[in-house]
Symmetry: C2
Subunit: 376 residues, 2 copies
């Protein structure tokens, strides 16, 4: 039996698929003549970093200072921390800088520049800062045409301890598209937002060496990267069911899956119970906006073949309940004690429950264990 | 500023509230003359175990073998692993037994008894087994009136390596009630399910020393525990927003909260951004069935006072977006760089993102760091 020496639930990572996914995105960036600065918030693994940046630009993006520290320890020297910075985090940022890293920070708040400058002075260091721009995602960021953009740029330039490094954006709303055309349109909106913001800063005499954009969907479907210096996709390395519905990957291009045991048959409710629940799969149900039959994950056999009609319909803390679209459950093919693999709805959330990857080839040979950096 | 030496996000645990919650449930069990076998799947902490069992029965319930191992290392000697067992997990179960633990296992599957017996023979050990009964939750378990119940009982008795220890159930459907009367009714349904199952087994000449039921809501609102030997609530130790709507606790009886920093103001979208997102809070939205203004958590100031009208309306991996019911956001009271505490929707899911608790008194003094046992 494949993977028989692993306990359940375990996190599987198909290295062949990962390499394929990394290579495709590298080729795309090379053809477009743009730097790929992969977002490591999904993989959080130094081995995945090496595959993602192999032979190319070696800068990365991270979502926590723990990630920045981990990758600094792994030898990465150019890191963008892409969550709004606050003064209380600068001491930790300095500790990472001191490992020989250029650690770029972001903000969208004029009101915090003074306190950042004060804290940098207290720490006797300097920090490169990018201004976060809202390209339509309505999460963080100033609007590219706003007065705030220029005011923040001027405040950073006026600071002795902060240097204006450029602008960045993330078109998170691309995750809700279903056609390539829609994503292409959002990619163009994303590009124009930061390019126009950069133009406005430069016309005020402010420096803007970095013009950064990117999400996996927009990186895949953008028609133009003109004016950008780098793109920052992340989940493309692994793929997931949500990305499959967006059109970014096929089910056989999803690199991660959760190995689970069948622990019961509920023939009354027509459910097969597995030992992967809300903690092992996460409670993310993003793909439900595209299909009512995805729940908390799709079900595969041990070879990775999708078992049509089956999905994890509900979860409790350590229980998952597999339902079938037709109502017919394959009890005989999946007896109690047998095992399945679950394709995650949202890889970033699912893999965060594990401290390591069980790395395997597509034909099921276990190759290695890779660590991850979790938490903050 | 309270908690100023902690990074964000961090997991806070109010020891005063935890002690209060533990004491109330102990008193309730004592008055009812029933053993409290707390489910440690929420707290996963040896210090919380000591508070929960202080001076009383010291058996516990767990949801993973990692928990069983951790609590065995902490000196616990009577552990019920309350997720359906499969043969591949028996070697690990034996390793825990060998630490001097009575480790009880559960099943609801006649088909797996033979393989469990074979594996126990191979391991040259024996295992106590409880039969899982479905009291209406429609997750795992055989129906109390089913032929399967008796067939499983007889198969366990006929086995040389398995011993029939009793019956257990969990009325998970009590989590969806909104009135004490509804929960009381489900508690009675839960009790009758296992008591009648025990009666049927005994009438067949089968042993049934343990008759175990319980969830936090049914433990709180049950009118009778007659015929039960123990109850297994868990989340009562911490409470959460979901339990608050069920009527189990008040907001000032929720022991855990997530300390987060304000990292931005999005005045266009009327949101305050914090650095606690889907990983720091979990993506559990259980309380949405009771209120459309709970999202991923309620917002408190640093003293723990609920800021009325505010809730975490949406999350990304490391971003949370606070909205207000009225649409008015307190930007001035919560400037960028200030901090808030978020009350979790479902404590079991939220606390699982952290390796440790920052234990504090209600007045904000930091007392200790307690570890947790996560994963599998």
């Amino acid at each position: 039996m494949l993977f028989e020496n692993l306990g359940t639930p375990s996190l599987l990572l198909d290295k062949d698929i990962l390499e394929h996914n990394c290579k495709i995105m590298q080729e795309r960036a090379q053809e477009a003549g743009i730097k790929l600065r992969p977002h490591m918030k999904t993989a959080k693994s130094i081995e995945a970093y090496h595959l993602a940046t192999d032979g190319g630009f070696d800068g990365i993006t991270v979502s926590t200072l723990s990630e920045a520290d981990y990758f600094a320890n792994g030898g990465v020297t150019d890191i963008l921390y892409a969550v709004g910075i606050v003064p209380s985090k600068l001491a930790e940022a300095q500790r990472i800088q001191d490992k020989g890293v250029k650690l770029s920070l972001i903000t969208d708040s004029l009101s915090v520049i003074g306190a950042l400058d004060d804290e940098a002075l207290r720490l006797e260091t300097t920090f490169p800062i990018l201004i976060e721009v809202d390209s339509g995602g309505q999460r963080g960021g100033v609007l590219p045409g706003s007065d705030d953009l220029i005011a923040i740029g001027k405040a950073i330039k006026a600071s002795n301890r902060l240097s204006l490094e450029g602008v960045m954006t993330h078109a998170g709303h691309s995750y809700h598209c279903t056609t390539p055309e829609e994503i292409t349109a959002i990619a163009e909106q994303e590009r124009l937002a930061v390019v126009s913001a950069a133009d406005r800063l430069r016309s005020e005499g402010l420096p803007c060496p970095i013009v950064s954009a990117g999400s996996t969907p927009t990186a895949v479907f953008a028609k133009s990267f003109d004016g950008l210096t780098d793109i920052r996709p992340g989940v493309y390395m692994f793929g997931d069911v949500d990305q499959m519905f967006i059109g970014v990957c096929r089910s056989n291009e999803i690199a991660v899956s959760v190995l689970a045991s069948v622990i019961g048959h509920n023939k009354g409710a027509k459910r097969i119970l597995i030992d992967a629940g809300g903690l092992a799969l996460s409670k993310d149900t993003s793909a439900s906006e595209f299909s009512s039959h995805t729940g908390y994950g799709l079900v595969c056999d041990l070879s990775g073949k999708v078992l049509e009609e089956l999905y994890v319909e509900s979860v409790h803390q350590e229980h998952g309940l597999i339902a079938s679209v037709s109502g017919d459950l394959p009890y005989e093919e999946l007896p109690v004690g047998s095992r399945v693999r679950i394709l995650p709805i949202h890889a970033c959330m699912t893999v965060a429950a594990y401290e390591q990857y069980e790395v395997h080839s597509t034909d099921g040979e276990l190759l290695a264990k890779w660590d991850r950096v979790n938490r903050w």
